[in-house]
């Protein structure tokens, strides 16, 4: 039924299938999490090191904004790969990396927004507000960020337990969220549409993999 129950059963499947390996699932999860931490943190450390030293091309502001924006979308898509991959490989423990990936998608999005605020509009509050209102691509980006923040905050176990069923409802909005982010990217470019269209296609594929679940969700919305 809900993805939560589904993932529980998958975890057992994962354990059942692992006797061939010497390593148990929790060690694998630990190793994956270390890789995720390093893979997410090292590039941003490198990025800001170069940007502060004025070694990131002629316009470090544009470079950091683009890097963190694209980075956030990449991690978000990676997050959406986890559950189809876990089902396909029958490796339920993979699901335990999903929250960490989601939180890094949020971290990159937060950096993206802070870069815009601090280095692009340089703390000009009025300019920031008028940009969010007047530029449709920024409005959509801001909406996506608010949604992503809600998911990040409610990822705390204590809140998750308190929210009960509504937690899953809220977290289903990731499907809407990823579409908003690709629209934000598409509208932000001047004419070079190929990369945004490629990302849009990736998002559609990741949603298509879940067509049954999405159909149910949409039906329940109108029921």
């Amino acid at each position: 039924m809900s993805e939560g129950i589904h993932s529980q059963s998958l975890i057992f499947v994962g354990r059942d299938l692992s006797p061939g390996f010497n390593m148990n699932s929790s060690s694998k999860v630990l190793i994956l999490k270390i890789i995720i931490h390093l893979g997410a943190l090292l590039p941003v450390i490198n990025l800001y090191f170069l940007a502060f030293a004025d070694q990131l091309g002629a316009d470090p502001v544009e470079a950091v904004i683009h890097f963190t924006g694209i980075g956030s979308l990449n991690i978000l898509l990676l997050t959406l790969c986890v559950s189809p991959l876990a089902k396909f490989l029958k490796q339920g423990y993979l699901l335990q990396t999903r929250r960490l990936l989601g939180l890094y998608a949020f971290t990159y999005a937060l950096l993206h927004l802070l870069n815009f605020l601090a280095f692009e509009v340089q703390f000009d509050g009025m300019l920031f507000i008028s940009e969010v209102i007047d530029r449709p691509y920024i409005t959509v980006g801001m909406l996506a960020f608010i949604l992503l923040s809600a998911l990040a905050i409610t990822s705390l176990n204590r809140l998750k337990r308190k929210m009960g069923k509504s937690w899953q409802h809220l977290h289903n909005s990731i499907y809407l969220l990823v579409l908003l982010v690709t629209v934000h990217f598409y509208w932000s470019v001047k004419s070079e549409l190929i990369a945004p269209l490629f990302y849009f296609l990736l998002a559609i594929i990741l949603l298509a993999v879940r067509h049954k679940k999405l159909k149910r969700l949409i039906q329940s919305m109108f029921a």
Binding site: G39, L42, P43, L47, A51, Q55, A58, P60, E192
Partner: protein
């Protein structure tokens, strides 16, 4: 003589040392095997890294020193460092990302070159490569360059007034507009050969001015910057510079100039007329749908923390020289 220039370039020299440290960092990362993971998460830094690797053994385009008279009026303007002027370019013929033109244009052939000036005039001419720098006396012009994307630079160009060039061909009374065209050569310009690199605009790139705009003494045909001939990424061997208009009007690597009776089509206007007008005068009171035009970030030296947001001036601060051209026109309608 060279008062400010060495100051800027010496800053860059110290930065080169940092770059070698940066190369080491990359090697360390690579050895650790995390570069692949990094590439998954974003592209800006890693594309820079690979560009750095390959540019080490690639021959770079060689520029020549020019003889010219110095700009003595605008020496007070803080110039954008040369390294930034030549590495941050919107020249989609060599890739739509700003760091691509410097990477993809170094093999560009500018000699031989032919620039034809024809149309509504009595004495059409064709200039060869050598004519571009010898036919008219060269002068330095330190101009502000304002991009429609709301960033700006200060660039010491070398060139001559377009007016002096047009006088050579004796425009007739039907010459109301001037059309410009960039070289079309997909073999040399990868952006013209590939939609992915070329950013989806139609080639050849075309631009235009009204004849009185073209004859304004500020309108420059540039053959160089920072005292040397133009590198390809900045529009070698000859380009237009119209300092009171957004940068996309300043068409690069020009092969044809035509005097016309009617207003010619212009590339960005054809692509999105609501966003880019024919006039494209810098106007802080007329917002672009994508960018507020009220202020801009001036690219000089300094990294992420450079406090470089400044107010944008009408006609990019050249109103005294050009505002008369548009007297009585509604600049929100003719943007």
């Amino acid at each position: 003589m060279l008062i400010k220039t060495p100051k800027n370039s010496s800053l860059k020299d110290s930065a080169v040392t940092d770059e070698s440290v940066y190369h080491d960092r990359r090697n360390i990362l690579k050895q650790m095997g995390f570069l692949g993971a990094g590439a998954l998460l974003g592209s800006a830094v890693t594309s820079k890294a690979s560009a750095g690797f390959f540019s080490d053994d690639k021959p770079s385009f060689s520029t020549k020193a020019l003889t010219y008279s110095k700009d003595t009026k605008n020496v007070g303007l803080l110039k954008t460092p040369e390294q930034k002027v030549i590495s941050h370019n919107n020249f989609y013929e060599f890739g739509a990302k700003k760091d691509q033109p410097i990477e993809l244009s170094q093999g560009f052939k500018v000699d031989p070159w032919q620039l034809t000036i024809s149309g509504e005039c009595d004495k059409p001419i064709t200039l060869d490569y050598d004519d571009l720098t010898t036919m008219l006396p060269l002068e330095e012009r330190i101009y502000r360059m304002r991009c429609v994307e709301a960033w700006s630079m200060v660039i010491p160009w070398v060139g001559f007034s377009l007016a002096d060039l047009l006088k050579k061909v004796a425009p007739n009374s039907r010459a109301k507009y001037v059309a410009f065209e960039t070289l079309y050569d997909p073999e040399q310009m990868p952006g013209q050969a590939s939609r992915r690199l070329g950013g989806g605009i139609k080639y050849p790139y075309v631009e235009g001015l009204r004849i009185d705009e073209a004859m304004n003494p500020l309108t420059l045909m540039s053959v160089g910057l920072y005292g040397k001939t133009l590198p390809p990424q900045n529009g070698a061997p000859i380009r237009l510079v119209v300092p009171w208009k957004y940068g996309f009007k300043s068409i690069k690597s020009i092969v044809a100039i035509k005097l016309l009776e009617h207003q010619p089509p212009t590339t960005w206007n054809k692509l999105a007329a609501r966003e880019y007008g024919f006039y494209a005068n810098v106007n802080p009171n007329h917002d672009h749908p994508r960018w507020s035009q009220a202020s801009e970030r001036r690219i000089t030296s300094g990294g992420l923390f450079a406090r470089n947001r400044i107010a944008t001036l009408p006609f990019n601060g050249y109103g005294d020289e050009v505002a008369d051209l548009y007297r009585g026109m509604n600049l929100s309608k003719y943007y």
